[in-house]
Subunit: 357 residues, 2 copies
């Protein structure tokens, strides 16, 4: 097992990464203060791992809340159902919530923890690659709104993140690839060495080689922990983690939540960011090709959906959280392996990318 720390003063917490960690109650128990727990999971994950987690929560009075599976259920209405079940079960301010599942379960459980009786502790137990390397770490929680993804939420940190990589055994190939998009993202943002490693080890990752997966997850979480510790509430560099996300969120919202996996939309978004960077001559056409090749190698899409017009992209991107006083910031590439946050992109070049000219 390896342990990383997200260093946030009195809200500092550990990320444990390894095989078989769900067997180790001693990693979890120190983070539970009260006598009650609530496990939030979904219909897909619960049959696989709920029993194992029940062994950990057996010393406590536990309640299960099982959500329907999918991004389309990441809503305030479903959040209200979590609250109803918790109130019915007499959960109180000392109840510890567990998020057992992927990004949707993690984001919704974290937001439930942030809001239930104005805040209770929670623990992330991610079971998808995407949740392990990105959404379970850093305290971004929330739900979607019909008019925009992740528009309602809170910055709220967990007590602990427990990454048992054995849970990836049950992940389907499409979800595995979607997670790899966020792994590759760290390379594009700030780690050329990691990009080279990924290029050489992509086949192993797709074949679920545990050593390769553990390394990719550890390195990803290392980047995430470092960036979050430096800029918890995204006043500056944390925005880099949104590479591809403004385009990607527009695709997810525009196509209907759940039609595209988040990681797939981010993959296309990263290509669009690369293309915009190239049109402004920040990076070469060869660099764009390297971006595409690596994503293709991870079996990810690189073309935006034909159904989406440039106008629809523009409209959806105008409600992005990185718009301030009407001006959008984008994460763009300065070189292969280095990104910056910029408000100074060429709007004509952006239109060309959105129109696929």
């Amino acid at each position: 097992m390896k342990t990383l720390t997200v260093d946030l003063g009195n809200r500092t917490y550990p990320i444990h990464i390894g095989s078989g960690l769900l067997q180790h109650a001693e990693l979890i128990h120190p983070h539970i203060q009260g006598k009650t727990t609530t496990i939030v999971s979904n219909e897909t994950i619960a049959p696989l791992y709920l029993d194992v987690l029940h062994k950990i929560t057996s010393p406590y009075r536990n309640t299960d809340v099982i959500l329907p599976d999918g991004e389309v259920y990441k809503t305030l209405e479903v959040e209200q159902q979590i609250f109803s079940q918790m109130l019915t079960a007499r959960c109180d301010r000392k109840t510890t919530l567990f998020a057992l599942g992927g990004g949707v379960v993690g984001d919704m459980t974290g937001f439930a923890a942030a809001c239930y009786q104005r805040g209770i502790p929670f623990i992330q137990v991610p079971t998808t690659l995407l949740a392990m390397v990105d959404s379970s770490v850093g305290g971004k929680t929330g739900v979607n709104h019909p008019l925009g993804k992740n528009m309602i939420g809170a910055f709220y940190q967990p007590q602990c993140v427990l990454i048992d990589i054995d849970t990836l055994d049950t992940l389907d190939d499409q979800q595995l690839s979607a997670g790899l998009a966020e792994v590759i993202k760290y390379g594009f943002i700030r780690d050329l060495d990691f990009l080279n490693w990924l290029d050489q080890n992509m086949d192993k990752l797709l074949q679920r080689d545990k050593t390769a997966l553990r390394y990719a997850i550890y390195r990803s979480c290392q980047h995430k922990a470092e960036i979050v510790a430096a800029d918890e509430r995204e006043a500056g560099q944390r925005a880099l983690l949104n590479l591809g996300h403004t385009f990607g969120h527009a695709i997810e919202t525009g196509m209907g939540y759940g039609k595209w996996l988040h990681g797939e939309a981010v993959s296309v978004g990263m290509v669009m960011a690369a293309e915009l960077s190239q049109k402004m001559n920040w990076i070469s056409k060869e660099a764009v090709q390297r971006v595409k090749n690596l994503l293709l190698k991870a079996k990810l899409p690189i073309e935006p959906p034909k159904a989406m017009s440039a106008t629809q992209f523009s409209d959806l991107m105008s409600v992005d959280k990185k718009v301030q006083d009407g001006v959008l910031s984008l994460i763009l590439m300065k070189s292969y392996g280095e990104c910056i946050v910029s408000r100074d992109f060429d709007p004509v070049a952006l239109q060309a990318v959105l129109s696929r000219e």
Copy 2:
């Protein structure tokens, strides 16, 4: 004008109290960072004060969100409508929200500010006595759940509280009395001198004498600011501010939100707390009578609704936020003018109070 400060490190903010303050844009403008504002108000208050506030927001691109009036609309569903209007108006992370109204508008606007794009600034402009002396100060925000009052929310502090006591001119008598319940509460908790002053000046307050009102509001806010600064997230003494609230919330939820005004329910709740304290011989029967007399003088109810059984009280009180690991804390009276937080009350005496024996 008088100004108090809520001292919370980098979240410190002022409370301005005086007549005609809504004419003074210079009090507000320093607290607005971006180029956009959104005013949240309700159907009753908007026709009275929206135009005045529009003068203050005129340098900014402003959006109005007008809610229906009443506690029954303090829900997650109505909160979602605020988000919809804000997204449609392209509000961003720099938009400043204004809460123009009473406690419901303040709580809902504060919670919207806490959650919209994971947190934006907001300013409290309370127009009811209750909101001025209690709910607009201290950062408790949120909505009701059908199973419990204020169960969903956040601790989220405003940038500034602007109390223009002239807005009390349009408050109806019942609402004025409801606000006085929270004013009297500060006396019961920790200020015998204030109780004596209130006893002598209650008629002036009911006649809306501005000097008396200003003093009562100032002294109430002083207590609130001091307690909140010492214990923002209610780990200890802040719970004292909940005197009468566990009983009161049960009445509000049990009778249906909006049937009883919050202050009226708290008035009865404080009498019940006094009666329980007396049954345990902490205070005398004479002290209970003084509690009742002062509340009666403020034209407040002192008897719980006949429709509510002891069982219904018990059930509703068991989801109170002061329950931890199944044990309820109550705020009880040690003497006339002094309260404590206690888990060591006599359950038989509590049953007797709930059964009105």
